[in-house]
């Protein structure tokens, strides 16, 4: 059992880790852009906001599996293949990016308007306000957002397993569902549950620890 579970677990961790990193790299700037370009933002660009907002909504409306399949050509372009754990990171990251953008947007919007105004009153530039005020002030909430993203990606990666991504989801389906090895399925699911619980616990702990409010 262990020799089945351990490699799958490592695959899942590998997939989730890198797709978290890449989806943050894609989604974080989008989230920041949403906040600063919206009406009343510190870099008001209504047209840009509407376009970005529209794209994110469209991407978020796609059922995840379909989006993944649609993104296979991108995997081939970047990784060279469409099957396997590494190849799955590409669609996972892209698919999670709009979600990340919304999570980041929500966190940054929680920042008190007054501190942004203070930044403007001392002549801070837009990048200074973003990096020195907005992000540090939103940090506890951003950590909760990243936690949410990781938990979501654990779920997504399990689904990705169904279309050849590997990992615990793949294990549960192949052994549990197709070969009627219920024990493998149960263990896989339990490991996923533990993973989610652990990530959520650590995220909560970290966020409340750094929060000085």
């Amino acid at each position: 059992m262990l020799e089945l579970i351990i490699p799958s677990l490592l695959q899942t961790v590998y997939m989730v880790f890198f797709s978290t990193v890449f989806s943050l790299l894609l989604g974080f700037p989008m989230g920041v852009l949403l906040v600063i370009t919206e009406k009343g933002g510190i870099w008001e660009k209504p047209t840009l906001y509407r376009i970005l907002d529209g794209i994110i909504n469209v991407l978020r409306s796609f059922p995840f599996l379909i989006l993944m399949v649609l993104l296979f050509p991108l995997s081939r372009l970047i990784v060279g293949k469409t099957i396997g754990t590494t190849a799955t990171i590409v669609p996972l990251s892209v698919a999670a990016a709009p979600f990340v953008a919304r999570v980041i947007e929500t966190s940054l919007k929680e920042v008190d308007k007054g501190v942004i105004e203070f930044g403007q009153s001392i002549g801070a530039t837009v990048p200074q306000i973003i990096f020195k005020i907005l992000i540090p002030e939103a940090m506890p909430s951003l950590i909760m957002g990243v936690t949410l993203t990781i938990v979501n990606l654990i779920g997504y990666s399990a689904m990705a397993g169904a279309i050849g991504g590997g990992g615990l989801g793949d294990l549960a389906i192949r052994y549990g569902l197709y070969r009627f090895q219920t024990d493998v399925m149960v263990v896989s699911v339990v490991v996923i549950v533990i993973l989610v619980q652990g990530v959520q616990f650590l995220g909560n702990k970290l966020a409340s620890r750094i929060n000085k409010k």
Binding site: D112, G114, V115, E117, F118, Q120, S121, I122, G123, A124, T125, Q128, K132, I133, P136, E137, M139, P140, I210, N211, K212, K213
Partner: protein
């Protein structure tokens, strides 16, 4: 120092224009504490936010130190804003940063080195009396302490002007006093020009040199604080002052209950400190019965009033009243 000319601000609401400020003009002298008082919705907050263009004026000019700030582009404006500190009603401290880090932030953004920042922040902490709160987070500070941090932070870049947006409105009376004392010290020792908006007449009374009274987006009166308390011109000013007077329950004196003549004497400046009433009693053949009175300390002078019953012959009473008038005391027969 600050010259505001025909300033107007409209907030667009669909096709409609809502004028928050209507053609306002005033000037603020260097080293002055200039108050802008008005009820909420009078437009005073919008007005002060126009002074550093946190709010863009729709029309008019704002000339600070010879520079029309309404004509500056974004980069020039940012540079100019370093000369204009601002403090806020709700302090606007960064909740995730310590006192030290909050005060250091403007210096950091201005590109100062670690050493310089350290010595400047320590200096400022000392100045506002918060050395022992250096590593505390805002959530661990009282309201007054938070405002002190905000003041230190506003002073960090050595501004020439300090804008105070209802800085004491969220504080209790005792803390308000101590913050006002700090602001006055800043004006006296650092030579800053302070523009403050408030809805509290006590604040104006305690600290301002001159005051503008705002109502419905317009300035209805600009006056020195002395003159305002002595001879308020506008209805709004009178209302503010009477709100202050009602604290001493003057209305409890009912003239009809007394046989003599009941008069209200207003003293001003040095008058309030001279024994004028005592002289009057010695000089004229009348008795004086004191019914009510109060002396308040204004920023630069004291103001007081006394309600007295004058008992004696009509001629003597009239002569006494004339004497008081000759001593520059306002006499009002009630």
């Amino acid at each position: 120092m600050i010259e505001v000319q025909n300033l107007s601000k409209c907030f667009q609401n669909g096709n409609e224009c809502i004028w928050a400020i209507k053609n306002v003009s005033f000037h603020v002298n260097r080293g002055e504490i200039f108050g802008i008082i008005g009820l909420s919705g009078a437009g005073k907050s919008t007005l002060i936010r126009c002074l550093n263009r946190l709010e863009e004026p729709t029309q008019g000019k704002i000339i600070i130190d010879g520079v029309d700030i309404t004509a500056l582009d974004k980069r020039e404006l940012r540079a100019k804003r370093k000369d204009i500190g601002m403090i806020f009603q709700h302090f606007n401290l960064l909740s995730q940063k310590t006192t030290y880090e909050n005060i250091a932030l403007p210096l950091e953004l201005a590109g100062l080195g670690k050493k310089e920042i350290n010595s400047r922040v320590n200096e400022l902490l000392e100045y506002v009396g918060l050395r022992d709160k250096r590593n505390a987070y805002p959530s661990q500070l009282s309201g007054g302490q938070k405002q002190r941090v905000a003041i230190a932070r506003a002073l960090a870049n050595n501004p020439k002007i300090l804008l105070s947006d209802e800085a004491t409105s969220a504080l209790d009376p005792k803390t308000t006093k101590s913050i006002l004392e700090l602001l006055n010290r800043i004006r006296n020792e650092l030579g800053l020009t302070i523009v403050m908006i408030t809805h509290q007449i006590e604040v104006v009374k305690d600290i301002c040199d001159r005051v503008a009274i705002m109502e419905n987006g317009e300035i209805v009166e600009i006056n020195t604080v002395e003159e305002l308390f002595r001879r308020p011109k506008s209805k709004t000013a009178k209302a503010f002052i009477s709100s202050l007077k009602s604290d001493v329950q003057e209305e409890f004196v009912i003239p009809e209950e007394f046989n003599g003549r009941v008069v209200r004497l207003s003293f001003w400046g040095d008058n309030a400190k001279k024994p004028i009433v005592s002289h009057m009693i010695k000089k004229f053949n009348i008795d004086v019965n004191i019914l009510s009175g109060n002396i308040s300390q204004l920023m630069s002078t004291s103001a007081g009033y006394l309600i007295v019953e004058l008992v004696g012959e009509d001629g003597e009473i009239q002569a006494a009243i004339d004497y008081l008038k000759s001593q520059d005391v306002d006499v009002e027969v009630m």
